[in-house]
């Protein structure tokens, strides 16, 4: 299967000379859900922000399909088909729900009359919340809106930074089942997660990041063993067949 997203030896960080990601390599196949795990401070969020163009990449390369997007500005990446949902502050709180979606549609020159009903079918809550200020949404509703906003442009790859953060287990289940539907519609998904159990339930493949480098890439099915899971969180790399 062809790679939808390839990161080769990525070095990235917020300050010059102070790298947080220190040579990470991941390859995400088209149509899969790819989860990135790792202990706190491993550089997971920095890696996905670097891929999305929000953190400077000082080494390595990022390919979206065949296209080198390493040094593209973040807004141009969206036009290339890469969408990103940040962990926090991932909606425009001062705009209404529909304005959030309308803005994304207008910027991406998407036919809103066709696309918005599709997204409201995928996230039915949003239809009845259209006129509400996004800042007044609950955690789960915000996450749905953030996903919908990112999907307006029909991206090839959707990256989510901890979509389960701050959500109740029931809401995590709802959000993750929606992500599965998104994947089934043909979108490749990359997600950074602390909720390993929930993420493993929907992921096809997994990478473990420790101290800014990937220690492991494996099929999710191979990591459902609790002992292996414990190893991941104690930072011991274990050879698992990919």
């Amino acid at each position: 299967m062809t790679a939808a997203l390839t990161c080769q030896d990525i070095v990235a960080g917020y300050e010059p000379g102070l790298s947080i990601v220190k040579g990470a390599t991941i390859s995400v196949a088209t149509g899969e859900i790819f989860a990135i795990f790792g202990p706190n401070g491993a550089g997971k969020s920095t890696l996905v922000k670097a891929i999305a163009g929000l953190v400077p990449v000082t080494g390595g390369s990022v390919y979206l399909g065949e296209t080198d997007i390493t040094q593209l500005p973040a807004h141009r990446m969206v036009h290339q088909g890469l969408a990103f949902v940040p962990q926090t502050e991932n909606i425009f709180a001062n705009l209404t729900v529909v304005e959030n979606l309308d803005l994304a549609a207008a910027i991406m020159k998407v036919d809103r009359k066709r696309r918005l009903p599709e997204l409201e079918a995928l996230f039915p809550d949003l239809a009845r919340l259209r006129g509400l200020k996004a800042g007044r949404l609950s955690g789960g509703q915000r996450q749905m809106l953030a996903c919908a906003r990112a999907l307006v442009s029909r991206p090839r790859v959707l990256i989510l930074d901890e979509p389960s953060a701050g959500l109740s287990p029931k809401l995590v289940e709802v959000v993750f089942s929606r992500l599965r539907e998104v994947r089934d519609s043909g979108v490749t998904i990359v997600l950074v997660e602390q909720n390993v159990k929930a993420a493993l339930a929907i992921a096809d493949r997994v990478a473990v990041l420790v101290d800014g480098r990937e220690r492991l890439q494996a099929a999710a099915a191979d990591l459902r063993d609790p002992v292996v899971l414990a190893d991941i969180y104690f930072g011991h790399a274990r050879q698992v067949s990919a």
Partner: protein, 307 residues
């Protein structure tokens, strides 16, 4: 009393137009631009320059006033050119100074740099135009009585002042429609709220920043020209208005365009109403007092959101 309120609204409308630029720049770039007042000065002087050019071109260096106003079409055309050139000055300053510092420095570096830019722009005005106050027109305006004297002292207002009030209202309405109805306006609001999220939504944040400078500078030019029209054109015009501009922006809630307008009107009214209480010499201190009061009572301003 009503006359004082009317005078306050006229002064306040000039402050409001200038404060919109301050609040837009702050909300998007997260720094207080103390050079904004100088954009008012440059707007006023460039209007004067192109008023002269259009008067010469249109015949004999004479301006035929429109109706009851003290100015002719040449002033309006001059203002249009001045607004464009003021926007170019703002873009040049952004490119040469602020954009470079933003990549490396913190907000405080930008604030200090804005003091330097203000000094440079002010002295460039002095160098180019000299320090003698100028007027757009020497026509004597007869104030119209809008309300008789026996109704709370009545109201008298010159046609030029009415024009300033009317055009301010139209400008604010246009800005409101731009921010709420157009994609670029919504992109500006989104970018001021969360620049990184704006980027991953596909918004070209650098283009939005440029547009913000253009709008802020054009409004500053209009405010400067209005100040010149109702008072006089002088190198200290922008510096004298700087504190009221910031007081208005903070009073309204930094980042809020409507807050800046309301803040401008309140500061204008405050200045005007303070004259019979404390005397005209303390008029400028009113903005200081209002600013201190606002910061003590409601630091986020009227429309500002509490953190």
């Amino acid at each position: 009393m009503l006359q004082l309120i009317t005078d306050g609204l006229i002064v306040g409308s000039v402050i409001a137009l200038g404060a919109i630029g301050v609040t837009l720049t702050y909300s998007l770039l997260r720094f207080a631009n103390f050079a904004h007042g100088e954009l008012l000065t440059w707007g006023a002087y460039l209007t004067l320059t192109f008023l002269g050019v259009f008067m010469t071109v249109s015949g004999g260096g004479v301006m035929q006033p429109i109706g009851p106003f003290s100015f002719g079409w040449q002033l309006l055309a001059g203002l249009l050119v001045a607004a464009i050139l003021t926007a170019l000055i703002a873009l040049a300053v952004e490119r040469l100074v602020f954009a470079r510092l933003r990549r490396k420095g913190t907000a405080i570096v930008l604030v200090i740099a804005s003091f330097g830019v203000a000094l440079a722009l002010r002295n460039l005005v002095m160098f180019t135009y000299g320090g003698i106050p100028e007027y757009y027109s020497r026509e004597i305006q007869i104030a119209i009585r809008v309300l008789p004297r026996d109704v709370w002292g009545g109201i008298r207002i010159t046609p030029d002042q009415l024009f300033v009030l009317g055009l301010t209202a139209v400008t604010v309405l246009c800005l409101h429609l731009f921010l709420t109805r157009t994609t670029m306006g919504k992109a500006m609001r989104a970018t001021s709220e969360n620049p990184d999220l704006a980027r991953v939504t596909g918004i070209d944040v650098e283009a939005v920043i440029r547009l913000t400078w253009i709008i802020g500078a054009m409004l500053a030019a209009v405010a400067g020209a209005f100040a010149g029209l109702t008072v006089q054109v002088r190198p200290g015009l922008g510096l004298d208005l700087l504190l009221p501009l910031f007081a208005a922006a903070i009073l309204g809630g930094i980042g809020s365009v409507y807050g800046a307008v309301l803040g401008g009107l309140i500061v204008g009214l405050g200045e005007s109403l303070s004259v019979p209480l404390f005397g005209a010499e303390y008029r400028a201190a009113t903005a200081f007092l209002l600013l201190i009061g606002i910061l003590l009572l409601r630091p986020t301003g009227i429309f500002g959101e509490r953190p």
